[in-house]
């Protein structure tokens, strides 16, 4: 989780990723941020984020995103 928060904070400084629950709904991150986030997660966690998991509900909070990453790793 710490690793993920670091990635997010690097891409979008000044956002409280531990608390924020509406990253997408409140337009805090945009489409190009998502591209960057996914490619960095792929690299740092050495996974291949499937496009079917690139869904708004998975990006609304760091927590939700972490859950998906764990799921992908376990699969």
């Amino acid at each position: 989780m710490k690793q993920l928060i670091e990635i997010l904070e690097n891409i979008k400084p000044g956002v409280d990723f531990k608390k924020e629950k509406h990253l997408i709904d409140d337009e805090i991150i945009d489409s190009f941020d998502i591209v960057t986030i996914v490619s960095q997660i792929n690299e740092e966690f050495d996974i291949d984020f499937p496009v079917t998991e690139i869904m708004p509900e998975n990006f609304n909070s760091a927590e939700a995103l972490y859950k998906v990453i764990t799921k992908i790793i376990n699969d």
Partner: protein, 504 residues
């Protein structure tokens, strides 16, 4: 006789009055109601008796924004759509040049203008009187001539002061006539609109809709982050035609969304605004082989497009798509530095002549004179052509090939180099997502930025050496996590260059 787009809209409305013209995330509107709402806005504005005055529109990308645009034209004035996400300073810059007589906005967006509102009259679209003064609108229509401005589009100028390109009614009507014919747009067309209304590309799908009785869906911007949802949206709305910037098409291709779901109604994919990388185009063509792909090319100063290429053969990943041939009723000249016409395979600057042309830049006679010039190969009568600043050539097949911006073309170690050529070679490498080349003039270095998952700098250089002549090898290679994009969705080269220079 049709002088304005709104007359052509009324003509289409006669035939399609109950058909849906536009859909946005919050509502949809029939042709009949669209005309009615536009006329209400026109009537409200007409009470001020302004004529040929600038009116700014500050709204979300919505149906209200479209009715405001046409409403302004009904009132005999011209509009500028302002990006409502833009920093206040830049809005102020535009307003300093434009000096709008009023700003149309709504309750939701009004606050973002609060630092500027003291100086400008604000008209809230939520508070308009629900009336149409037809005799007054008829009177205004009689007064309009087709060379009156219809709208102004602001683009960033090299000096940082925005340039306002003036488009008149005639340019837009002439241009749209070409677009609907060449692209086969008709009442069965269902557009999915990606580009913002303050960007010239939106002129094509928006006005092509209005004059043909087609339907246009405004795609919520957020969907461009979620490729599968985006394709689901295309399918739910039976979208058959899209005209997007290549970056938006690349997001779908790079995330391999087409392996999971296909846009099943799509018949036409048109793109413009930047170079379409061949690797991603080939991914699309492999998945959707039997549909039309067209590469459109042109600057805001020719309304939107001046040349186009319908993809009709296979290309390898390292090849470049031609920009094809001139649009009908629009002539292109390729002129060498000595002001003579270039022969086949000779490069020169692209000049455009014809009715698609802008009338010039708003309150900027110097810049206007620089690029709207007397046709250099016609010394018999006055004729204005537009210098695009683009370097092109004609190949053996008679197709125009885009080489670079005049200001992208660099002299490096005595060689004339197109940075775009280096980019397309590197983009074709497997594993490269995107790359951008800039030239560090001060230190005479070609700097290549690239974004990729698993490929090291040394490997990029090694592969570049196999593909490019030595004088084109990048002198510095930088791996970056994030490619910056500007508000239109195009790669922000200026920002990359500035960041690079600052870090030196």
């Amino acid at each position: 006789m049709y002088k304005t787009i709104f007359e052509l809209l009324e003509k289409a409305t006669k035939k399609h009055k109950d058909k849906i013209a536009f859909k946005d995330p919050s509502r949809e509107i029939t042709y009949q109601d669209f005309v009615k709402e536009s006329k209400i806005i026109g009537t409200n504005l007409s009470k001020n008796n302004w004529f040929n005055k600038p009116i700014a529109i500050f709204l979300d990308k919505s149906i209200n924004c479209l009715t405001s645009m046409i409403g302004v034209n009904y009132s005999g004035n011209f509009y500028t759509v302002i990006d409502n996400k833009m920093p206040t300073d830049r809005i102020k810059n535009i307003f300093d040049t434009l000096e709008p007589v009023c700003v149309i906005t709504d309750l939701k967006n009004k606050n973002k203008l609060k630092d500027l509102t003291n100086n400008y009259k604000i008209i809230l679209i939520d508070n308009l009187t629900n009336e149409i003064d037809q005799p007054k609108l008829d009177e205004i229509k009689n007064r309009i001539i087709d060379t009156d401005p219809m709208y102004i589009l602001f683009t960033s100028g090299s000096t940082g002061i925005p340039k306002g390109t003036i488009l008149n009614h005639r340019a837009v009507i002439t241009y749209i006539s070409w677009f609907i014919e060449a692209m086969g747009i008709n009442e069965k067309t269902i557009f999915g609109s990606q580009t913002p209304f303050y960007f010239s590309m939106s002129v094509s799908d928006v006005f092509a809709t209005m004059v043909t009785g087609a339907t246009l869906n405004i795609i919520p911007k957020m969907l461009f982050s979620f490729p599968v949802k985006l394709i689901e949206f295309l399918n739910e709305n039976k979208i058959n035609t899209i005209y997007w910037v290549p970056s938006a098409l690349c997001i779908i291709a790079n995330f391999k969304a087409l392996d999971v779901i296909l846009p099943k109604y799509l018949k036409k994919i048109l793109f413009a605004g930047e170079v379409m990388p061949m690797k991603q185009l080939n991914i699309w063509r492999k998945k959707l082989p039997n549909i039309m792909y067209a590469n459109l090319f042109g600057p805001t100063e020719t309304t939107d497009i001046c040349s186009y290429y319908v993809v009709n053969k296979d290309f390898l990943d390292h090849e470049t798509l031609p920009i094809g041939k001139h649009c009908d009723n629009c002539d292109l000249l390729i002129v060498k530095e000595d002001n003579t016409l270039a022969n086949i395979n000779e490069e020169g600057e692209l000049l455009v002549r014809g009715s698609f042309l802008s009338s010039g830049y708003y309150k900027n006679p110097d810049k206007t004179k620089e690029v709207f010039i007397q046709n250099p190969i016609n010394n018999s009568y006055p004729e204005i052509v537009y210098k695009t600043g683009d370097i092109v050539k004609i190949n053996d097949q008679g197709e125009i090939i885009y080489l670079s911006r005049k200001d992208f073309q660099i002299k490096h170690m005595g060689y004339r180099i197109e940075l775009g050529e280096i980019e397309s070679a590197i983009n074709a490498l497997p594993n490269i997502d995107t790359c951008v080349c800039i030239y560090d003039t001060k230190n005479s270095k070609i700097v290549l930025f690239y974004k990729a998952k698993d490929i090291k700098k040394e490997e990029v250089l090694k592969q570049a050496k196999n593909k490019l002549p030595q004088y084109m090898w990048p002198n510095e290679i930088i791996k970056i996590d994030k490619i910056p994009y500007n508000s239109n969705g195009k790669i922000d080269r200026k920002k990359l260059k500035n960041n690079y220079e600052e870090e030196l």
